[in-house]
């Protein structure tokens, strides 16, 4: 709860790999949460949707299962965007409580429970990172440090998974400019304006790159909403 930014947010990165978005494979972190969290198997969506619907009726046991299934992803998003364990842990808790509070609004026809919760998680992480950035002097936001920020930094604790491998493969299939725009916006929590500024690219171009990149990712990952 202390407002002072934790070191992770400003310390220069020890490792500097060439480009962000190099999703390197790492070994699975041992001792991950049990149950559905271990594998987002083919049958997860239906189960998780059903669980979240039960949460909407006040079922605390169902909520515990939803927490186990989603907390690692939510925390991973928060940590990727915030680069700070304390902030990430706080936002994780905030998001999970919001999942509980607003579960009755979840409509399975409009997307899976996982998408619903992770959309919320990313939004809250982004809200927080923008506020934290604004809180410090905007000038000192050292964009160039962020440019060099390799996505690998997260890797040490990121769990290996099928999704990870698939996402890495599909990210690599994007054009380099699409890749960098999508990664900066999603994992970097940047607005597309900031991305444009950072890449010294025109706004409409970046807007299009992000959309085209995501559409291509969608096709590559075989996403059907």
């Amino acid at each position: 709860m202390h407002p002072t930014p934790a070191p992770a947010l400003r310390s220069p990165r020890a490792r500097r790999t060439a480009a962000w978005g190099t999703l390197s494979l790492v070994t699975t972190t041992p001792g991950g949460p049990p149950g559905p969290a271990g594998a987002t198997g083919v049958d997860e969506p239906a189960t998780l949707d059903a669980l979240l619907l039960r949460v909407g009726t006040g079922d605390e046991t169902a909520f515990a299962s939803v927490y186990d299934a989603l907390s690692a992803s939510v925390y991973g998003i928060c940590f990727a965007v915030l680069r700070d364990r304390d902030h990430a842990a706080e936002v994780l808790q905030e998001v999970m409580v919001e999942v509980w509070r607003t579960a009755a609004r979840f409509e399975p026809d409009r997307g899976s429970a996982r998408t619903w919760a992770l959309t919320l998680a990313h939004r809250r992480a982004v809200d927080r990172v923008r506020a934290v950035q604004a809180q410090r002097t905007r000038d000192q936001r050292v964009l160039d440090e962020q440019v060099e920020r390799p996505f690998d930094v997260v890797s040490e604790e990121v769990e290996d998974s099928m999704e990870r491998a698939r996402v890495r493969r599909c990210l690599d299939a994007l054009t380099p400019t699409q890749h960098e725009a999508v990664v900066l916006a999603y994992y970097g929590g940047r607005t597309y304006r900031e991305v444009a500024e950072q890449l010294a690219a025109p706004l409409p171009t970046v807007k299009t790159r992000i959309r085209d990149g995501l559409l291509r990712l969608r096709d590559c990952l075989g996403v059907a909403a």
Binding site: M1, T29, G32, E60, F63, Y67, S71, A72, S73, V74, Y75, G76, I77, F79, A80, A88, L92, Q93, M96, V97, W100, R101, T102, A104, R105, R110, G111, S112, R114, T115, H122, V126, R130, A131, V132, A134, Q135, E157, V158, E159, E163, R164, V167, A185, Y186, Y187, G189, R190, T191, R193, K207, I210, R211, L215, L217, R218, L221, V223, A224, A225
Partner: protein, 289 residues
Amino acid sequence: MSAHDDAGRTDVRDLLGAYALDAVDDVERRAVERLVASDPDAAQELAELRATAALLGSAVRTAPPADARGAVLEAIRRTPQDRTPDGDGRAVRVDDEPAAGAVPDTAVRDTAAPDTAAPGTAGDVPGDPRGVTDLAARRRARRPNWLAVAAIAVGAAAVPASVAWQQAQEADRAREQAQVLAALLAEPDTEVVRGQVEGGGTAVGVLGTDQAVFTATGLEDPGAGREYQLWVIRDGVAVPDAVMPDRSGEVRAVTDAFAAGDALAVTVEPRGGSLEPTTVPVVVLAAEA
């Protein structure tokens, strides 16, 4: 700001990707939300892009701190759930006194609780009718005050981080609103209207042809678990708009849903807002016909 003032549908559609990654500003967000509400194709694309973004999220799955689980399970036990307005005819929202730390808003609000307790205990300090000072009695009487002070202090210590970032968010929003306001006031057809708010306060509406700014000052506290919500009134129908956080009796909001001929109204709603007004408007602003 002018970039999205006359943004056509195609431009807004181009924003779907950035929107799915939370990479747009508030004005653009509303533009996309309006598009998606009226265009099933766009809604479908957005749903797919969101699912894609969620996979980017799943790809960085990371074991959270072990103590988070217990803390969250504990927190939800103290947190009432929001109810949807439809369905079983229950209240629109059951939003009594949510648990501390549930949401930033709540954390801030909760610190006010000791405040309200304090006057009661202070009133208990007995004035000695005979003018004799009973120190022990005073000390006894004072103790609750210290407890109240301690409670406030605990609350205050817990708040700064969330307050600070709320203020930062507020500053961002204010800057954007100022830009919209400047753009609106530069338009020839913009009308500025003023009205008294039921219960106290003054409201000002800056009504453009496709956008409006609403501000009010001197408002009463909407009450625990309640917020002021803006509505766009079109042909007698109230279209839900922004929920406006009360900042010491001040609220403001920009709406893109406004069109010439519409009116703005504000009601007090359960926190988080409602889909239909559940109370009578405290103010309605419309341009002179």
